[in-house]
């Protein structure tokens, strides 16, 4: 499982403040902490209004790149911000994200096809997020048609089956799991990712729910996840689950983590 570190996101008040005040040290510290904890990509989301987002996202890209060597995951629905950020990246990034929404397909997909190492594709469209796995699978089929037509090989696409909070609908996680299983069977070449913390929105002790969900998604074929790499308990659970599922050859990652004192 590869981790996309989620912490540099303007919807978090600490980050929003740092972006508005150009507080580079706060952002750099978040980037370093996530890279040190094994994040394969650092997500950057400015979360500011559209007119200033290009400038803010470029600042974030520069600030994070000055601190760490890990590739970025450019998180925006705004083509102008993405285009500006793509000019700045040192390593080909992931683009987060396209979806079945017309504006995103037309505005973001060409940019991703031209300059990114991969693109995250959300199972939703202009009508919203379908409540059923079949509905989401239909969107995923259209998305893969679009990425293929844009010349993006399947192994550079990261499908997010999307999970809603179980607090409002007890079936939310099951729908995400069913979507993932079906999409994986149909498109074995693509990657699967999940911004999984949404699953526990509105519930107490959220990290427990996130952990249970992540492990079930891992079994269903999730191979990347957008999460907090500093959540030690989550990483421990993940390492153990990878051993159990035979995803950790000779249990090496697990025993290495043990020797490094990470399992305590």
């Amino acid at each position: 499982m590869k981790i996309i570190g989620e912490k540099i996101n303007g919807t978090r008040s600490q980050v929003r403040k740092a972006v508005l005040e150009r507080d580079a040290e706060t952002i750099a510290a978040l980037a370093r902490a996530q890279a040190d904890s094994g994040a394969a990509w650092i997500d950057v989301n400015a979360g500011t209004p559209a007119d200033r987002e290009p400038e803010d996202l470029v600042w974030l890209v520069r600030t994070v790149q000055a601190a760490v060597d890990v590739p970025l995951c450019l998180d925006s629905a705004n083509p102008a911000a993405l285009a500006a950020a793509l000019e700045e990246v040192r390593k080909p990034p992931l683009v987060n994200s396209i979806s079945g929404e017309r504006a995103r397909l037309e505005g973001v997909l060409p940019l991703a096809a031209r300059a990114a190492d991969g693109v995250i594709a959300l199972a939703m469209d202009d009508q919203g997020i379908p409540g059923s796995a079949e509905g989401r699978l239909a969107i995923i089929r259209r998305l893969l048609q679009a990425t293929r037509a844009a010349g993006i090989p399947d192994e550079h696409v990261y499908v997010d089956p999307l999970v809603m909070s179980v607090a409002t609908n007890s079936d939310s996680a099951r729908v995400a799991l069913a979507t993932l299983r079906a999409a994986r069977a149909e498109f074995p070449g693509v990657h699967f990712t999940s911004g999984l913390s949404n699953v526990s929105f509105g519930l107490p002790a959220r990290s427990l729910i996130n952990r249970a969900f992540l492990i079930l998604m891992l079994e269903a074929g999730l191979d990347t996840a957008i999460l907090d790499p500093l959540d030690r308990e989550l990483r421990k659970a993940l390492l153990a689950a990878e051993v159990v599922l035979g995803l950790d050859r000779h249990c090496l990652a697990y025993t290495r983590a043990f020797r490094a004192g990470l399992l305590e």
Binding site: G10, M124, A167, T168, F201, L203
Partner: protein
Amino acid sequence: MVDRLVTAIAEMREEEALAITRELLGAGTPPTQILDDCRAAMEIVGQRFEQGKYFIPELILAGEMLKAISDLVKPHIKQEAEVKKLGKVVLGTVRGDIHDIGKNIVGFMLDANGFEVYDLGIDVPPEAFVEKVREVQPQVVALSGFLTLSYDSMKETVEALKAAGLRDRVKIMVGGGTVDEKVCTYAGADAFGADAMAAVTLARQWTR
């Protein structure tokens, strides 16, 4: 006797709450009294939510209980006037945003507290708000948004109401995600609320 209903709802005992309602109706208890109990119970639920003892699932279950109870009570209400509403609220998640959890909670907390709520759903364009405000003439408009891009939509919605000459007839509240005082000022709204109970408090003030 009637306190049992308040307790059953507040303690999330759904079947018991419905059984008590049937029993009360059978004994000739005035429907308004039962609805008052529901309101009292929802107040307790709201407080517990604010205190971090209850969570979104409890709010939703409380909403479902309330709906089931009002369905039971309705046939016993002779005149509409018996359930006088406190005021009307037009509610929706603004254009470009599809987040609905917070908006739905605000909706049924307002409803449970005696407001007539017109929920326009998600990704609602400014014109739809204008149209509904013109149609139902609410005292309150509640704009919800989680994404930062929703701030612009909130502003556009307020401006559309202004352009339609309706701005001065309503109070506008905004809320959701990182919405704060600054966003409220930016959008030209009257107040922001941090949670569903804040929405109820504001709506009460504005309809007094």
